[in-house]
Amino acid sequence: MNELTEKAWPAVRLLLLPYLALLFLLFYPIEYNIIAPGGLTEVSETIVIPYHEDKAVAGSISTTFVISMERSTFFMFVTGYFNPYLTIYTATSTYTPAESQQIAYLDKATSIDASIIVAYQAAATINPEVVLGYVQKTLVFGKASYLSAYDEIAFGDEFVQVLGDGGSIATSIEDIASVTALASAYDFTFRDAAGADYVVTLVKDAETGRFGLTLKVYHLVDRAATYPLYDTPASAIGGPSGGLMQALYVYNQLIDEDITHGLRIAGTGTIGYDGVAGYIGGVGQKVVTAFYNGAQVFFVPCHNDGTDPDYAANHPSDNYIEALRACAEFGIDPEGWLIPVYSLADVIAYLDGLGA
C-alpha cells in the first residue's frame, strides 16, 4: 500500500480539498425539503383479509407514495432545482425527523381504520356476513415545542380526561377549554399504547395561554365486534394519503364480484369516516409516479359539485385541478386515465360502470 500511496500522493494532495468539498455537497443537510415521485404499493401488502380467499382478482389496487426528503443535501437541492418533477420548499416543521415519522405512522394506522370502517359499511349493504364494530377515541396528534410535559406524552396516546376547575371533569375535546379557564395548570389523564393510564400536569404557555397539545378524534375498529378480521403487516410507508385506495381494496375483498376488471388501479386521497376522499399533497409527483409505474386508471379527489362554472380558476388547489395541470406539464393524456372522484362511492360507481 505504501508504494501506491507514495506514487499517488501528489494527486491525492491536489484533490483532497475538492474531494472534501464534494463530500460536503453530497452529505451536508440544508433547510430545504424535497418531494419526489415514488412508487406504487399494492394494498394487499398492507392489509390482509383472510376472506373470499378463493376469489380470483384479475387486477390490482395500489396506493401511490412519493418520496418526502426532509432536509435535503446541497447536491439534491441543485439537481432537484432543474428537475421539473420535484417540488422544493423550505423546511418549516417544528418536529424532529423521528417525530415526523411517528406522526406519519399514526396517520397511516388511523387511515387504515378509517378505510376499514368505510369499506365494511359499504360492503355490509350487499354482504350480510360483514359486521363492523368501532369505538371513538381522542388521540394525541400534535405537540407544540412549549408543551410542558413534552417527553412524557407520546403521539397516539389516548386522552382520557382532564380534572378541571372546581373538580369538574372533561372527557371530550369540546369541553376542555370550558373547564380549564381559571388556573394555569391542570391534571390530564392519558392512556399509553400498552393500555396503562398516567397523569401529567400540563401548564399553560405564558405567551399563548395554551397547553400546546393537539388532540384529534378518531374512529378505531373494535376487532372483537368485527367480521371478517384483517391483518396489517408492517410497512415503511407512512401517511394517510392511501385511505381511498385502501378502502376500495377492502371493499373489493368483501364482495362477491371483482370490480377491478383486470385493471392496474392506482389512486390517492385520504378517506373520511363519511367516505369522502380528502385532499393530499404532492399531487404532481403522484401523477408522474402512477403514470411511469403503468397504472391504467388513476383516481384523484375532486370536490367540484358542479355549481361553480369557473371551478378550475377559483379552486386551483383542488387535487384534480392540480393533477390536470401536472398532466399538461408532463405531456400525459388525462382522458380516461385521470378520474376525479368525490368519495369511495364515486370510485365504486365508476368501476361498476366499466363492467356494465
Binding site: 500500500m1 508504494e3 500511496t5 506514487k7 453530497l26 419526489a36 415521485p37 418520496i67 426528503m69 447536491f75
Partner: protein
C-alpha cells in the same frame, strides 16, 4: 480435458505469483486497490444513490447505472492492485497481470449476477 488443463495452468500461475510476492504482499496490494478504489468511487455511488432517490420512477435506469458503476469499481480496484504489485517488484517475472485479470473477471461476474438478481427478482418483488 481442456478445462482440466486450464485449471492446472491457472494453479501453476498462482503458485508462481505467490512464490514471487508472498501472501502478505498480495493482500497488501488488494488492500491498496480497495482503499484507493473506494475513495475514488464513494462520491460516485453517493451521487447515483441520491439521484435514484429523487428519480424513483426511473428506478431501473439507475439500478443499471449502479450495476455498471459497481463493475467499474471492481475493475479499478483490481487494476490498482495490479499496479501496486508492479510497483512492489518492477522486474517481476510471474504473470501477475494475467492472474489479476482472471480475478477481475470472477468478481465482475459475481457483481453482474448480483445486479441481475436485483433487476429480475428483488426490485420487482419490492418496488415495481
Amino acid at each position: 480435458m481442456e478445462l482440466k488443463k486450464q485449471w492446472f495452468a491457472l494453479k501453476i500461475k498462482w503458485e508462481t505469483v505467490h512464490r514471487e510476492y508472498s501472501t502478505r504482499n498480495l493482500l497488501d496490494a488488494l488492500l491498496a486497490g480497495g482503499v484507493y478504489g473506494s475513495l475514488a468511487f464513494f462520491p460516485l455511488f453517493a451521487i447515483l444513490v441520491e439521484l435514484m432517490i429523487l428519480n424513483l420512477h426511473r428506478l431501473y435506469t439507475f439500478a443499471v447505472l449502479l450495476i455498471l458503476t459497481a463493475m467499474a469499481y471492481v475493475y479499478v480496484v483490481n487494476k490498482l492492485a495490479a499496479y501496486t504489485l508492479k510497483l512492489k517488484k518492477p522486474d517481476h517475472e510471474s504473470d501477475v497481470k494475467g492472474l489479476i485479470w482472471i480475478h477481475t473477471l470472477v468478481w465482475l461476474t459475481i457483481t453482474l449476477l448480483v445486479g441481475l438478481l436485483f433487476l429480475i427478482v428483488i426490485i420487482p418483488a419490492n418496488w415495481a
